[in-house]
Amino acid sequence: MDWFYVKGILILSGINLMAVLGLSLLTGFTGLFSFGHAGFMAIGAYAAAFIGVNLRLPLIVSLLAGGLAAGIISLFIGRLTLKLKGDYFCIATLGFGEAIRLILDNVQVFGGARGWPGIPIRIDLWNVVLINLAGIAFMISLVNSRHGRNMIAIREEELAAETIGIDTFKYKMISLFTSAVYAGIAGGLVGYYTGFLQPKMFGMTKSTELTIIVIFGGIGSISGSVLGTLLLTALPELLRAFALWRLVAYGAAVIFIMISRPEGLMGGKEITFKGILRAFGFGHKHGKAREV
């Protein structure tokens, strides 16, 4: 294995990680399932590429603009669907994701189904890692604040959350918005890494893959999302030996792991510095891993 190949996989993991972190907030911490997050990635990807190519703005500004575009669209979607109970929201996001893909397939401005080649390649491992670190830091601060706790309360027991004064609709909107921004940034990264965008890249398969990673890593765990992304992005590559049967083996592996560890890799726990120190025998003996 040469470094170029490994680096490629790491960059892809980093791109996936941004989308997964966002989805982790929505699904893992707020308890809302989405099967349309690839739609937000698509919006971010095309918006970021469009702004970067036409206005010649720096990479980080284009990415943020892509994230913001996805975020703004998510507010419309959220306004319409977040009052729906339970599974209805999930179905609405499924429809949304497919609608975005079909619109991009048919609108010729961005090349339609043929795709959009020639986007300047501006992504390297170092800037993906920096963006990821910022994304992780933001997410950790958010979930450990009262705002994050309010979202977790909604996941645990929505009615009780209301009766202790949490505006559940508002917090669901914040959660959806934030997760759409993350997905949008991830989409922007895709365009600037591959230099090519095609609506097909952002189909149902992508949305499902993101949800699988969140559940695989463990609901309500950021370290779980990071580990899950690294493992599940690398897994199809490790399975290259199976050739045609690769995706079957991938599915079988995921099923096997979920059966043997239904709560996900981390099961709602986090890897913390204190935890690591403790594992090696330092620090207080009495402490325990942080709750979900």
Partner: protein
Amino acid sequence: MDILEISDLTKTFGGLTAVEDVSFRVQEGSISGLIGPNGAGKTTIFNLITGIYKVTAGEITWRGDPIQNLEPHVIANMGITRTFQNIRLFKRLSVYSNIITACHGNASYSIADSVLKSKRFRTEEKRLREDAVSLMKILGLTEWQDHVAHSLPYGLQRRLEIARALAVKPKLLLLDEPAAGMNPDETQQLMHHICRIRDEFGCTVLVIEHRMDLIMGICENIVVLNFGKKLTEGPPKEIQSNPQVIEAYLGKEAGISA
């Protein structure tokens, strides 16, 4: 002074009238009881007060302002909160997390504050932790603070739900069958806690309960419901000897001999 006034409250579900023309008042600083046989509409009234159900007709007045049909979280922030008949804790969270989550209203830092770890974030977050710790101490939950809520014994789950409600700093606390499933010893403790809550938190309490020892032991005023209508109202002594109440619970004497 009356803190809560309910007038001609009616709630229908399709053709079924769950609550019909019920009126009563709750005095500030009192412990009041709401009793009645199963299906009398007690919990429905709680759901109407807390905004979980929309009112069909009638008025609910909180310190002089109508509050019917407001969103539950708005009502909670006005100072009315409740516990549930079928306990609704944040099951997978620790006792401490359950309580500190409910303390959120005592802080006002923004998401930007929490990301930048501003001074406001640190001082307010510290205050929330202190609030949670003191509530655990008052309700005797300190030794359980790291336990996951659903692993607690039943009586403690009920107590945790009360602690979580108190974290909202309510002016009116609605308790829906707080003693259900408790043994006599736990019920005694609960009665003691309810009285303490009223005295130490300056909180008015309205309680639904089937355990007459609890209701008669702590309530100053009791409202009796039957088939969605108010049967009568009065202090415990009066209610105990009221023939209508006895009839609602036990049936008519003539009915037995017939």
